[in-house]
Symmetry: C2
Subunit: 459 residues, 2 copies
């Protein structure tokens, strides 16, 4: 066992106690009352980074919740690695579904239960611990390190883009590791190569300026719900392909190798249908479910409403109909261009007799994809292979993690998601937990990865 | 001036005071707390009918609000006319928009303001007054009369069909006059030949059994809103024709004469658009707006909802989508058959990946159409012509009045709508009123009509 591993082992219990301390802080970023707690979490991280031997540690305020920065830059000719994580948490409701209070961490059966345990305090703390272990055991680090921890991830990081733009030099690096993400299973590692982008569009169709009697007026005036259903139906063909002009134009097609990689990941159709309560799979022809969810863009209507929605009947010819749409995007689709194309489509297909408004909210996200050939990827994959004794899956996520694309867009640097939570750990839900085995494995993994990056990574 | 007219004139003020008394009773049929008031209104009508000289007067209980029956059957060889009206009212809210309390009748500028003034207490009271006038002035009536006044019209007359079925013999007659309806304008009479029927259908589309993350699952599972919009869009063509198989099969086409009649009624497009706040007219090609609203069936989506409907965005793949539909029907369409055809259509067009439920609520109504050649119609038309000095319009209503079709279905007798409210009198709204000029004109009209029916009506 290397000295740094021995160090980790010797201080194992303290690292758990410290995590408990960290988890006690109710740093819920979405609730204004908890802003002081988010600040307290930032201070906790700041103090702990200092005691680990990290330098230049400081809290940097933004117009919202703060970020914490620190670095250790004494490895000349070695790559500089930026490590990202977040110390804010989701709210806790519904509180009554928690077995223990969400900010009174409870250890049971090898798991630590608390809000933020797996998302993302446990994972964020791992690289700090490993830095301490390496510095204490070896007096040096195998790479230059920068740390960027934020307190606003759970509210969409509103001030982060401006912060990154302003601090480009401070954040300059060769590779980014994200401690926010997860692994496939207890026995199966995975490398996440991509996340989908997001482009939301809201549609309002305006008919008469007030609800009308459907008997008196029905048949003479356009019904905005009819118009809305026509508009929405025109966006897909019968088989589920998006028919908005140019929607797929910029999609980078899957290579044969990528297809093979994605479909190496087992897909249990019966289990999938059972989990979702769906009667059958459905989606764009010519693609498997993994390919559809991970590598193809979608256009989903997230909500629709118009006219009378109460119990029973009310025979109105309604004044208005609304729909909320979001597109999940893949490389190289541009969220603004897609929203514009949707708007053009809506205007083109809107039937006579109604007015239409298309709103393009700014909470967009760029799709993110790192090539499997990226050195950060294959080095992290080799660590996972050694650690689990298994070839990792090369997967993507259907969901959106804006920060990875943001780093690539603003710093020109790929992010390797290197994190050890598992899907079943109730992120964002009651009884969130983190496995202590994952906590320890993560520490070992980060140590191995930093070592290997120091030896093998040539930017 | 005939003796009965002199009588009406001599007792004019008393008839207004009595109407005020009648309007004081808050007989709101939809509110259980007001059930005793509905009963009190029935008793008021009972007493007043007796004092008018009407015989066999009695309150007949139903499982809901009661009906009041009475008759005068001493005109051998003369037709028997049943007069219909209702003594219940709509609720009063929003109360704050009333200038005077809704059950404290106020006379101002030749109008009597109160809930129920025009709909339908003022109109119901007219034939009672006229019967009194004829009996007092002439000691006899020109026809046999039966009176059927109900206390549940404003809640859809739930017990009336069973009552009529059970009392067929009691209600047997040659012609029905309905005191529930209205006239075209102060200077323009109208004969209402038809009302549309109603067939409601509710659709529920079921996708996954809970809302899913649209990133994780989007593209692999059918979205029930997409399915719903497909289903709904398939029910009309681009121009507004209903495309449900067999929808128009039983529609009795307009004759050339009927078309001419309907289109003799002026239609002011600019005013219509201004009143409704619509950008343009829209509807089934080949028909005018009057024809569309009065003589053609429609299928309107009255409401739709599914997925996230709050402020902003929530990127769900929703579990469910709902739509509320009602079809307005014309002779000879059958509401049950139409609902069945809609159900068949929905099942046929439902795309894969979702389940669908079609609910066919029982609040259906049969369309009603009386031929313009019916003697009741042309006799009433001739009265209106004499009274207004103008040829009446021959119109239909786009709305539904179930009782007329019910009488035709159960008693085989046509109803002549003979009533004197005007469109602007705020039925169902705050500040409902009835013009005292209409009240007097109605009395004269009923007197003339009964006289003329006695002379000219041969069943």
């Amino acid at each position: 066992m290397a000295a740094w591993e021995t160090y980790l082992n010797d201080h194992k219990d303290r690292f758990v106690s410290e995590l408990v301390e960290f988890l006690r802080i109710p740093s819920i970023s979405s609730l204004p009352d908890h802003a002081p707690d988010v600040q307290e979490a930032a201070e906790w991280v700041e103090t702990r980074m200092k005691s680990a031997g990290i330098e230049s540690v400081r809290i940097i305020p933004t117009e919202g919740h703060p970020v914490v920065y620190g670095d250790w830059l004494h490895a000349p000719d070695k790559p500089t690695v930026l490590i990202y994580g977040h110390f804010d948490t989701q709210p806790v409701d519904p509180l009554e579904l928690w077995d223990n209070p969400p900010f009174e961490p409870t250890i049971k059966g090898g798991r630590i239960y608390a809000r933020g345990a797996t998302d993302d305090k446990g994972n964020l703390f791992i690289p700090i611990i490993v830095t301490e272990a390496l510095l204490k055991a070896e007096g040096t680090l195998p790479v230059n390190l920068k740390f960027l921890f934020e307190g606003q991830e759970e509210i969409g990081s509103p001030q982060l883009p401006n912060f990154i733009r302003a601090e480009k030099d401070l954040l300059a690096c060769d590779l980014i590791l994200s401690a926010d993400g997860g692994q496939w299973g207890e026995d199966q590692p995975a490398v996440i190569l991509g996340t989908r982008g997001l482009s939301p569009v809201l549609i309002e169709v305006w008919g008469p300026d007030h609800d009308l009697h459907s008997g008196t007026y029905g048949g003479t005036i356009a019904n905005p719900i009819h118009a809305m259903t026509q508009i929405l139906t025109s966006m897909h063909d019968q088989e589920g392909r998006v028919t908005v002009d140019g929607f797929y134009d910029d999609v980078l097609p899957l290579s044969d190798e990528e297809r093979t990689q994605l479909n190496r990941v087992p897909f249990d159709e019966a289990k999938y249908l059972d989990e979702t309560g769906s009667v059958s799979l459905f989606g764009e022809p010519g693609f498997t479910s993994h390919e559809r969810a991970w590598s193809r863009p979608t256009l989903e209507i997230n909500g629709i409403y118009g006219g009378f929605q109460g119990e029973g009947l009310k025979t109105v010819l309604p004044s208005r109909a609304n729909a909320k749409i979001s597109c999940r995007l893949v490389t190289d689709q541009d969220p603004i261009k897609i929203a514009d194309r949707l708007e053009t489509h809506v205007k083109k297909v809107t039937p006579p007799g109604v007015k239409v408004t298309v709103i393009k909210p700014e909470n967009r996200a760029i799709p993110y994809l790192v090539p499997a050939t990226d050195p950060g990827i294959w080095i992290s994959a080799s660590v996972l292979r050694d650690l689990y004794g298994k070839e990792p899956y090369y997967i993507r996520m259907g969901a959106t993690i804006p920060v990875n694309a943001l780093f690539f867009q603003l710093l020109g640097i790929y992010t390797v998601i290197f994190s050890f939570g598992l899907q079943d750990e109730c992120q964002h839900s009651p009884n969130e937990f983190f496995r202590l085995s994952s906590y320890e494995r993560g520490q070992k993994a980060y140590g191995m990865l930093l070592k290997r990056l120091g030896k093998e990574f040539r930017p």
